[in-house]
Symmetry: C3
Subunit: 125 residues, 3 copies
């Protein structure tokens, strides 16, 4: 197993790797928007969506990949009312074709988090 | 990334590919039953379950595969009371052995949708 | 498709394979803690968490693998209050580096189940 840590993320106290490379695939853990100190960013929803996508991107970059490599996304939202804004921002970030995606409403460990995104990247030919 | 679109699905306004091929794997986005015009089918639950499986099958067929290639399913239901009917219909559609599966209760972007199914197909040897 | 059944699990009435091997990957179905007769274990939460991880491990072992091969976990919990205990026990079971992971709060088919864990193992080089 090849764990992937973006710069400055090694200190996480959570028992997970931000990403793991397996063969030609990169599994990115569910990412939320974070503040510089690593705590969840709780603020405006557009910033939270952008931050969660940024966090996915940071894991992929640490593996030498990018959002262009993403083949599957699972997006977890806290409320159905967030779908329209989520789709609007999400659509601007995937410019090389859209990954497959499932998007469902769940709750999170932190009561104020509204967006968590996991992804699978593919770096094969 | 090789996006997969069943016939007539290219016009989706959602920022996702119905399916994506990556190496020997086909990632199928979460599928719901739809009417001929692409809107979610809201009606009897048996029809909704069947329609969601049909939609998964359509994506696989567009990639030259079938339900026989499915190795993993994640089924999202809106209510625990649906599990028995879901399992009954689901069991009739996978005739070459059952995929691995997780089935959980969540909510959806559309308030009346009750069943969404995502799948991973494998077309390697 | 190569279905994987731990010893004594062939008799499941659920339309799923506990595990499926596809290429170098092993997809493990969502596992809950069970009693010896296969019914869900409903009891203390520490036992339930341990039992769910044990069940994932049993599927992997039936495929000639172990928890060391897990590259991605999706953990489903019934309540955000369970995260701390879940992480504490979980961390003791993955000793060769942590898989990527997403952990979300959902509901289950059985009203008293609190923990379900699915996993992807990788057995390639």
């Amino acid at each position: 197993m090849k764990s992937i840590y973006p710069d400055g993320r090694e200190a996480s106290t959570m028992p997970l790797s931000p990403g793991v490379r397996a063969g030609d695939f990169i599994y990115v853990s569910g990412q939320v928007a974070t503040n510089p100190d690593g705590t969840p960013f709780i603020g405006d929803i557009r910033g939270e969506i952008t931050g969660a996508i940024d966090a996915v991107e940071a894991v992929l970059r640490a593996a030498g990949a990018s959002l262009d490599n993403v083949v599957k996304v699972t997006a977890f939202l806290s409320n159905a009312a967030l779908f329209a804004t989520f789709n609007e921002i999400y659509a601007t970030r995937f410019v090389s074709g859209f990954p497959a995606r499932s998007t469902v409403v769940v709750a999170f460990g932190h009561p104020d988090v509204r967006v968590e995104i996991e992804a699978i990247g593919y770096v094969g030919s």
